[in-house]
Symmetry: C2
Subunit: 578 residues, 2 copies
């Protein structure tokens, strides 16, 4: 993906990445795919950070091309390893340094910075590659008996330190073999898969249901998080994921019909009925447990008709953030059907997107100025609809009606297409830019409409208080009662600890402003210390009771996930130092 640079082109790294290197672990996505920003975006970033081209002539950061070498002895006994080999097969237990490190970290910038610095602090003793539910049940039972910590690695795109093996033990890498279709039921429109099934494989399987299952038509999973290409179905479920099309298809909890778990106290299988009134909803007790109650093995998902031809794309520019918000709320409250992708960018993000998509080089520029819309004030709204043709058309018509009412300028579907092209690719930019010390990460939170302006103002103020820091915000995953606010921040930074503190400060600002800690990234170990304070002591005690029930010896994803086994002293320390 090479853009032509007219003036200066930074020394973007395009080299081959050694197979056993740190970079091969922290790099986003396809091993051979590299993406650099287009020239105008590069210039914007360079100027933002008060840098000159000079700073981009050579790398300021370690490229991470060295071979992975750990100085961490395997603490499992030979007997234990032999038992694991008996369960999954001896080729599917690995204790070499590379295998161990490759499942230890996720993809938050803190992980990547640590890997660039060769900080490998929390790796498992062994990596297992199961290929059947029964194997996982045996592994969990054995680990419960032997008190061996158990971690899971799905797609590897956690941004909450969710997969980190703080207590050693084993990690189950689900990607390799635990990724098969268990059952497809066209009458009920459901598919049951093993939890390691990847997003793209699931979607392809469903798109080709006619060939794969002799189905009458093609289906879609409807769930496309930004991390889609490197995410697993199991990861979606246990972290409460939301896809970019969630406003129409729902978030993962709306798509899950049933789940099976292997827990230290035995297997749990929730029913697959469309709805029931038989006590508290077990699916919701297990979803969001992030591996701390047990390991998700099989998942039954609802599937949807694949109707790409009914999509209606739209994009509008609103005069300012308040107007855009009002329009967004009206669209979601008018009961005309929800759009699928729904994204309203704040002024700063709008400015950068206009650069990225080259809009300011087009005649649209004159329309904006003619209407008195100013860069730095105006807000880009884009999205598309899904569903049956008439439904989709009516929904887009309603968007148009509301956009007009609020004085939005129609930008055609082109901007939306540009966004779609990059929707899963933007994370690639991170690695390329970070070679020069430019770090980019995200935070997100759930907000009610009536508090939206306050949250935006206060969290933004915190981020912008740091000199030369980009803070792009958009609203996505939208509801009649509110929306997700998503923050992308870009800074010039080297030290992982500086990053961690900055990140924690954003989390504090989010909570202080009255938003939820997370809309869809989950809690993991990174946000764990704040959870009890955020949801309340009596409320958190319910989680503790469930944890105590499922995992009395604390072997499931131990070391702070969801705030379990985090002592008060550590919580205080983390909060004081952020």
């Amino acid at each position: 993906m090479a853009h032509r640079y007219k003036q200066f082109e930074p020394k973007w790294f395009h080299g081959k990445i050694p197979a056993n290197s740190y970079r091969s672990i922290f790099k986003w996505g396809e091993p051979n795919q590299i993406k650099a920003p287009r020239e105008s975006l590069y210039q914007l970033i360079r100027d933002q950070f008060g840098l000159t081209d000079e700073a981009f002539k050579d790398y300021s950061e370690d490229l991470g091309l060295d071979e992975v070498k750990l100085d961490l002895p395997v603490k499992l006994t030979a007997v234990q390893i032999a038992r694991f080999a008996e369960i999954v097969g001896k080729d599917y237990v690995r204790t070499d340094d590379y295998a161990r490190l490759s499942v230890a970290y996720g993809k938050t910038m803190y992980d990547i910075m640590r890997l660039r610095h060769k900080i490998a602090e929390n790796v498992p003793d062994a990596v297992l590659y199961p290929d059947a539910k029964e194997q996982i049940e045996q592994i969990v039972a054995y680990c419960a008996a032997e008190k061996i910590p158990v971690y899971v690695y799905g797609g590897g795109s956690s941004v909450t330190r969710g997969v980190e093996c703080v207590k050693g033990g084993i990690s189950l890498d689900m990607r390799l073999r635990f990724n098969k279709v268990v059952n497809f039921n066209e009458i009920d429109q459901t598919i049951t898969v093993e939890a390691g099934m990847s997003g793209p494989k699931l979607e392809e399987t469903l798109n080709k249901a006619e060939t794969n299952f002799g189905a009458k038509r093609a289906y879609t999973c409807g769930h496309f998080p930004q991390s889609f290409e490197y995410s697993s179905v199991g990861g979606w479920v246990v972290t409460h994921s939301a896809g970019q099309n969630s406003t129409y298809y729902g978030c993962i909890q709306d798509i899950v019909l049933g789940q099976d778990y292997a827990t230290p106290v035995g297997s749990i299988s929730t029913d697959r009925y469309p709805r029931k009134a038989t006590g508290p909803d077990l699916d919701h007790i297990m979803m969001g447990s992030e591996g701390t109650f047990g390991i998700l093995t099989h998942v039954t998902l609802k599937v949807f008709r694949h109707m790409p031809r009914t999509i209606k794309r739209f994009s509008y520019m609103f005069r300012d953030w308040e107007t855009g918000q009002a329009a967004a709320r009206e669209i979601m409250q008018s009961e005309a059907g929800y759009p699928s992708v729904f994204r309203l960018s704040d002024p700063e993000e709008t400015g950068i997107m206009l650069h990225m998509y080259g809009v300011m080089d087009s005649p649209l520029k004159h329309i904006f100025s003619g209407k008195g819309f100013r860069v730095g004030k105006m807000c880009l709204y884009l999205g598309f609809t899904n569903g049956e043709a008439g439904f989709s058309r009516n929904c887009a018509k309603n968007v148009r009606r509301v956009a007009r009412k609020y004085g939005g300028i129609w930008l055609s579907g082109i901007v939306t297409r540009s966004w779609e092209k990059g929707r899963f690719n933007d994370p690639y930019l991170r690695d390329t830019m970070q070679d020069f010390g430019i770090v980019m990460d995200t935070m997100e939170c759930s907000v009610n409409w009536s508090n939206m302006s306050k949250v935006h103002r206060e969290v933004r103020a915190y981020v912008k208080n740091r000199p030369n820091t980009v803070c792009m915000t958009h609203m996505s995953h939208v509801y009649p009662q509110g929306a997700n606010l998503y923050w992308i921040f870009i800074a010039h930074m080297h030290d992982p600890e500086e990053f961690r503190r900055f990140h924690a400060g954003i989390l504090n600002a989010i909570q202080k402003s009255g938003a939820s800690m997370s809309h869809h990234h989950g809690i993991g170990k990174m946000f764990g210390p704040w959870l009890e304070g955020s949801i309340g002591r009596n409320e958190y005690a319910v989680y503790r009771a469930l944890k105590q029930h499922f995992d009395p010896d604390n072997i499931m994803n131990p070391g702070g996930t969801l705030g379990f086994d985090t002592d008060e002293k550590k919580k205080r320390f983390l909060k004081d130092h952020s």
Copy 2:
């Protein structure tokens, strides 16, 4: 509601009901409203049970007009009663027989039969009428300290023995004073109410939001269970209720945004964010707990725009049950928007509805016979749409398209209007008919599409195996993955124990056929003994762990609710004797 009878009119009871009588407790609905079946329906029922007019010349059952008198001493101490009086005010603690019995039973036929037989076995020692959340918190804390059982009476329409005070103690009657609006937020489209708020009061409050709150428009709660007029918001939430318009508005769990509970281990307040990824969903842990974890105090609900003028009514006749099912599934899977009311009757129910609505006296009769549609085979489908005008129109258009595809005969909106007129009134018929020993009750279950025919066939076979028993079934609350099957059975029966066994037999048949125990009635004490067997031992152990956490001394709705404190012997006995 007097119908003119041309031939014989039974001696329907139209007398005044004494204020302190058993009948005033078991009678459905408005004290002065009495409803008798129209003549054709009466004749159908009479013939069905092989009876003659003779049997309807005088009552075979006790009318229940005697004054309530119990021989059950109050077991609370004077100190305890004084403490309650201190909390809620001395006028709001009652220990008289009538107050005690009036909150002891719900509205399943087993309750009514027992009341007619003056069987008052499970009454509270005192009834409290709280009017603030803080009072309820104090009551629960005091009862936890004193180990006094705590029950709650909301709208009183439980059909699962949910409110029955098996262990004595106190019952909180929420109807009188705990029914106020706490907050209305038009920006977020939410309302927060006290849990005793009744359905009709909530709906009226929202319909008149312009006057009540100076709102910009009128709203609706979107939740209309059959028991609407005698149901409370708290009851909806803790029993997992579903309204007749749930296919569009969602069931109660889709409408609840947040809840507050008073539990023996302190107060719980869930957040009010539109969505979050902060661990297991506390709302879902508390919903469906049926008073066994704590008492629901405040509820925040989503509200919807009140747009009665956009409603599109429809009704169609399908050739047979299989064709109707196929059409229903196609409507729900085509992604054109869901209808709001959605009801497909099986052949037996269709036959009775045609009688009730007088359709067979209209020219439609000839259209049916012309097309070869036969009574006993054909199935009535009716419903209406809600939402913004274009959405509602598109949804109705899709229903029409699918109905045509499956050869449905269009019956105009008249049949739907007839159904709407009676939608909350039908329960009145029960009391009138039962004076002659005709009992009528319902069961319901959740079923996946691929198992629909089997469940219908097998459960129906069980009911029809009893001589002279009516078994009407319809599908309502419909999803892309399946639907609720709702059973109305009518029989000639006197003995409450015979009823209980028959009822339990239906439940067994439902479970054996592969359906859930309940779609929306809940479990209560009536279905409690089956719950563990139905959801599984490890799965049920999760409920036990939660119960142990919230209520270690078992004071919250004790005596078998959700199967808690039901011993194995009793479970076996109940199952063996059904």
